[in-house]
Amino acid sequence: MFTTGKHLYLYIAVGLYVSALLLFCFRARRVSFPVFFIGFIINILYLIGRGWLGGVFSPNPIVEGPFLLPCGVALLALLKRFGDDEEWGLLLIPTILFALFSLWHAKGIIPPTPQKMTLWAVGFFVTEVSAHACFYCGAFLALVDILRKRNGSSFHPFIVWGFVLFSISQVVGAVWAYLGWGHTFSWGPRHMTTAGIWIMYAAYLHLRFMPEWGIQRRRVFAVIAAGILFFFSFGHYIHEMNFPRIGG
């Protein structure tokens, strides 16, 4: 693949995201979207190219969190734009922040063990990272509402669908964990973190039925929950930077 090993494409994608955000902020929104879209396509092509970093195709590097997450957030921005939401460009901010992290992150691949070479693993990472993208977008929009002191609950559907995606990742992950290691749940940091996150967002879903938790308090909960998610998931990404890698 022409983007394999050529990390310049990731830099180009991020540059286009930044340009799109600047155009959006300076009200050149008609130009902003095509620039963003081109950046998104290049980002996707770079992501696919990662599959051959080991010299033989493996889907695992494509779905690695630090690299898939910015694409996930960008996809949500795209969906918001196609839903005729004029504020789609706000989601460029978390897209760029996560993309900057991926620029800093180690770009090589962790050699896959035989237990990771299954579509169950791919399905798990795709749904988990997509869920994270929804949670972060929901939290970001909640934060914007808090700062702008405005009404609206546009953040809520992101968290609801993020929870659905995260639930899918729990089932897929449990199947993968059993096939690979003989446990649906493991007393280790990875499993306990994801279980805690699932329970935390399950708690959020119940707030709608508690009158004392008005929209403002729910926004704050969404932001704090995303902060906790960020602490654990990015802590995990940074920890993985210490693992021996191939291809950068």
Binding site: T113, M117, V175, E240
Partner: protein, 276 residues
């Protein structure tokens, strides 16, 4: 009990306990990993008193989960009773939509129960395998004999050369029937699941090899699958292929319940979106 506010705070308590456990297990990975292959009551009996500073959160987690389960059960029963009393006033679709969250909660209780069954009734065994070795699944039963072990490697011209991509172990029973076990393809044999694993072994003396789960273990297992062509004698590390023999009665509760929960959730939130 049977209160929504209590549900919320119990959910947060469980989440906090999980996060504490996650942070603890980051620092003491091998210590907590040993819980995965022991019944929790047996593990706590050995480790809890000796390592209270590490394991204090585990009983609190189980207590919070138990209270959450009871509270959820009472809430669910109350809700279903209320809906059933008003069944004649609503259409079937509206009734199903209204009762789905209760079904989801009921399935959640089933999942918690399934995990409890796994934690308290599961059985795990590890057996080192090499060609010709005998593997006993159950004491007194005729053993399986390892007839062959075949490894496949990534291509030599790739960056992943000298790394195992697949392994296939052939076992033969007393009747002459063969079974094959590969990574990610566990087999069900005489009431047990058989899986492959590859672990790091610390060689203490030249003749004695011990499986020591604390041998610099981390969550990254990639190095276990890198084959060293030159084997050094004396003390050092080597990797060993093992067969895991598992009896997990909770598996048949957890996976179906979680799948049904997921399907219910998907239907419910889609209906909610359509109603808007």
């Amino acid at each position: 009990m049977g209160d929504l506010k209590l549900t919320f705070w119990l959910l947060l308590s469980v989440a906090v306990a999980m996060f504490i456990g996650a942070l603890m297990s980051l620092e003491h990975f091998a210590f907590f990993a040993s819980m995965n292959e022991a019944r929790v009551q047996d593990w706590l009996a050995v480790h809890f008193v000796r390592n209270v500073h590490l394991s204090w959160w585990i009983p609190l987690l189980f207590l919070a989960m138990a209270l959450l389960g009871v509270n959820t059960f009472i809430c669910t029963c109350t809700r279903i009773a209320s809906l059933l009393s008003r069944r004649k006033e609503m259409s079937l679709r509206h009734f199903l939509f209204s009762v789905t969250p209760s079904i989801i909660h009921g399935l959640f209780i089933v999942i918690i129960f399934g995990h409890l069954v796994t934690f308290t009734m599961g059985e795990w065994q590890r057996v080192s395998i090499q060609k010709g070795a005998e593997v006993s699944l159950v004491e007194g039963d005729a053993p399986l004999v390892v007839k062959g072990i075949r490894h496949s490697y990534f291509p030599d011209n790739s960056g992943l050369r000298n790394r195992i991509s697949r392994s296939r172990v052939t076992l033969k029973n007393e009747s002459g029937d063969t079974v094959h076990v590969e990574y990610l393809k566990p087999i069900y044999y005489r009431g047990r699941h058989l899986l492959l694993d590859r672990v790091k072994i610390r060689r203490v003396e030249e003749k004695r090899i011990e499986y020591d789960p604390a041998a610099e273990e981390t969550c990254n297992k990639a190095a276990n699958y890198r084959v060293q062509k030159i084997v050094k004698s004396g003390t050092g590390k080597k990797h060993e292929l093992q067969l895991k023999i598992i009896d997990d009665p909770g598996l048949y509760i957890i996976i179906p319940a979680f799948t049904l929960l997921l399907m219910s959730m998907l239907w419910y939130f889609t209906e909610l979106q359509l109603k808007k």
